[in-house]
């Protein structure tokens, strides 16, 4: 009897734990559109780190983009040691998975929609985007320059 009761209690506790924790990663669209439902819950969010890492005391702000929206992540500085690349024109940022508390309107941060990270996992490393100079554009520029020069010469003459 006691064993049964303990099993039920344990089962209920696990259920309760599952209720406000989403093991599978949730998209930014889902988070923003259903912010009230997820507010205060632990969520898993995956995306590319973009822009600057803004250090603020013991913590830092990183912005993580899942290709639809970027969401601000408030994270302890020691957790971002592994982040090497952040997304920009020249680089593809590291792909990370954040587990943390989602806030629809964060009291600590002036009402921002954000995630307070508890842990971060680097899924894949970013890289420098390969750069090839556009030779077609160079030819086009030279061609147009010749036409403009010719045009100016003709205009000066006539």
């Amino acid at each position: 009897m006691i064993k049964k009761a303990l099993f039920i209690i344990l089962f209920l506790l696990l259920m309760a734990q599952n209720y406000d924790c989403y093991a599978q990663s949730i998209s930014s669209v889902e988070l923003i559109n259903n912010a009230k439902n997820y507010n205060g819950n632990t969520v898993v969010y995956k995306g590319e780190v973009i822009g600057d890492i803004m250090r603020r005391g013991e913590y830092a702000w990183i912005n993580v983009n899942d290709e639809k929206n970027a969401v601000g992540i408030w994270i302890k500085k020691e957790l971002i040691k592994d982040i090497v690349y952040t997304g920009s024109y020249e680089t593809k940022g590291d792909l990370v998975e954040i587990t943390g508390k989602f806030n629809r309107s964060c009291v600590e941060h002036g009402g921002d929609l954000d995630i307070h990270a508890q842990s971060i996992a680097k899924i894949s490393s970013g890289n420098d985007v390969p750069y090839v100079v556009n030779t077609k554009a160079i030819k086009f520029v030279l061609g147009l320059s010749c036409i403009i020069l010719l045009f100016c010469l003709l205009r000066a003459r006539y």
């Binding site: 923003i32 822009g51 803004m54 408030w74 309107s105 002036g110 403009i148």
Partner: protein, 501 residues
């Protein structure tokens, strides 16, 4: 009888259009040089070189083929202005399209029209990976368009003439700050550049303090200033101002957008030592009252739904979006979808009212504008007095705008014509939105945002929206920025060309 325009009229228009196009071509060297020198971006620099050369060639051909030394008459001046905005939209869209961040050429045209008209609605894809050069061009657009495309040409290439005044008026600038229109154009550029330096420094320093790299801090500072002072609302990152997660950054931005929404004439008065004008002017007074009233509506709406947990957060979020909408900037510290999903109808209505009313005349702001709103209320007050007092009483109504002015019927009629035009275009755009399948309030919100050159979006503006809606918003942004008269003049000119004798 409608008179058909003659070939010499078209030549004259094309000649001035060519001059403006050459001016535009030269401005493309700014992102070319900055991109190449500071950021070592070769391919984006080539995009700008190609586009600049196309613009220069087009302008040179027009000025050569249609060489003219005649002054522009009123209709020609207006047609030059309205056409130059369309030509600028197409030519400026070339480098953006070449960046590969737009799904179609129409999308890049939408972006440039949104920039030039200081609207800020965007169809860019993957903004967070856009090059510095292309991003700078997105923000330079509002800085050029906010001051006026024709005004650049006036300030740089033209000597004082009646024709230049007609182009100046055609760009919805009916107030001369200085007696000479060329001096006025140069003054507008002077104060804009002085503010640009101060604003970039302020935002750059704040940017470094909040953790941006120095290079990015000043780049973002310049971009946010240009789009903020010119009430456009573009930002270098996809999260807009939310990207910075900083209250100080938001406060500095608020100061900049308020400065941008004030009449250039008020800036001149302030710089000349006439600081009392700020408090006495009908526009600043109406602006203050209107902000208070619309913020009250927004607060009631947000409070009723309990959107924010405390008053401080409500003020920070509510006031930022409100002032951003009222000044027709469109900077956001919330996500577009939150407007519809969380804010509720009442707060949204408050924002729509603020956007529709707009900033001051002779500023970079859009919307109906404060001087007109003030005049309408003065006229209403006069009418009520007329009804209340005996018939033989002579009732006059005056207002203070730089000088004390007696309100006349002709002035009220002109103000009402433009106001009705704005309301019509807000409603028409909303109807097309509804026809495309969007809800009424969302459609009205987006339509008002486009026509009043605000740039707020509740989620409709997207690369996947119907083409008809993209074209509608382009026309709304263009007509709203030019305050209709130049656009009407262009349509009149086209009708006269086909039906005139």
């Amino acid at each position: 009888m409608i008179l058909k325009p003659q070939l010499k009229d078209i030549r004259n228009i094309a000649y001035y259009l060519g001059k403006i196009t050459i001016g535009l071509g030269f401005t493309m060297f700014v992102p070319f040089i900055i991109g190449l020198v500071f950021f070592k971006e070769i391919n984006p620099a080539l995009d700008f070189l190609v586009s600049a050369e196309i613009a220069l060639l087009f302008g040179l051909i027009l000025t050569w083929v249609c060489d003219s030394d005649k002054e522009l008459n009123w209709i020609q001046g207006m047609v030059v202005v309205s056409l130059s905005w369309l030509v600028a939209m197409v030519l400026s869209a070339i480098p953006l399209f070449l960046s590969g961040h737009y799904k179609s050429f129409l999308d890049s045209c939408f972006e440039t029209m949104s920039g030039f008209t200081t609207t800020g609605l965007t169809l860019v894809q993957d903004l967070d990976h856009l090059s510095y050069s292309h991003n700078l061009w997105r923000h330079l657009g509002p800085f050029i368009g906010g001051q006026g495309i024709a005004i650049i040409a006036l300030a740089l290439f033209m000597k004082g003439s009646v024709g230049s005044f007609r182009m100046y008026v055609g760009e919805a600038r009916d107030e001369k700050i200085l007696p000479n229109v060329i001096h006025t154009a140069r003054f507008i550029w002077l104060i804009s550049i002085v503010y640009l330096i101060i604003g970039t420094l302020a935002l750059g320093i704040v940017g470094m303090l909040i953790g941006l790299k120095p290079q990015n801090a000043f780049f973002h500072g310049a971009c946010v200033f240009m789009a903020g002072f010119d009430t456009a609302g573009f930002a270098p990152q996809s999260q807009n101002i939310l990207y910075y997660h900083s209250q100080i950054f938001e406060i500095v931005t608020i100061v900049i957008i308020i400065f941008g929404s004030l009449n250039f004439n008020l800036h001149y008065q302030f710089w000349s030592g006439n600081r009392k004008e700020l408090m006495r002017n009908i526009e600043t007074r109406t602006f203050l009252l209107s902000v208070m009233l619309t913020f009250f509506i927004v607060t009631i709406g947000l409070n009723k739904l309990g959107v924010y947990s405390n008053a401080l957060i409500l003020f920070r979020k509510g006031f930022f979006q409100l002032i951003s909408g009222h000044t027709t900037t469109g900077y956001m510290t919330i996500y577009a979808q939150q407007f519809i999903k969380e804010w509720g109808d009442l707060a949204l209505t408050g924002i729509i009212c603020a956007m529709a009313l707009g900033g001051c005349v002779c500023s970079t702001a859009g919307g109906i504008k404060m001087l007109r709103v003030g005049i309408i209320f003065k006229a209403l007050k006069q009418d009520i007095k007329t009804l209340a007092l005996p018939e033989y009483a002579i009732i006059t109504q005056k207002f203070h705008h730089i000088k004390t002015v007696f309100l006349e019927d002709a002035q009220t009629r002109a103000v009402l014509s433009i106001t009705i035009s704005y309301i019509t275009i807000y409603v028409l755009g909303a109807l097309i939105g509804v026809w495309c399948g969007y809800p009424v309030l969302n459609s009205l919100f987006e339509s008002t945002s486009a026509a009043a050159n605000v740039g707020f979006s509740c989620g409709i503006t997207d690369a996947s929206m119907p083409t008809i809606l993209k074209i509608t918003y382009i026309i709304q942004m263009w007509a709203g920025r030019l305050e209709f008269m130049s656009v009407f003049a262009l349509f009149g000119f086209i009708v006269a060309f086909f039906r005139g004798k």
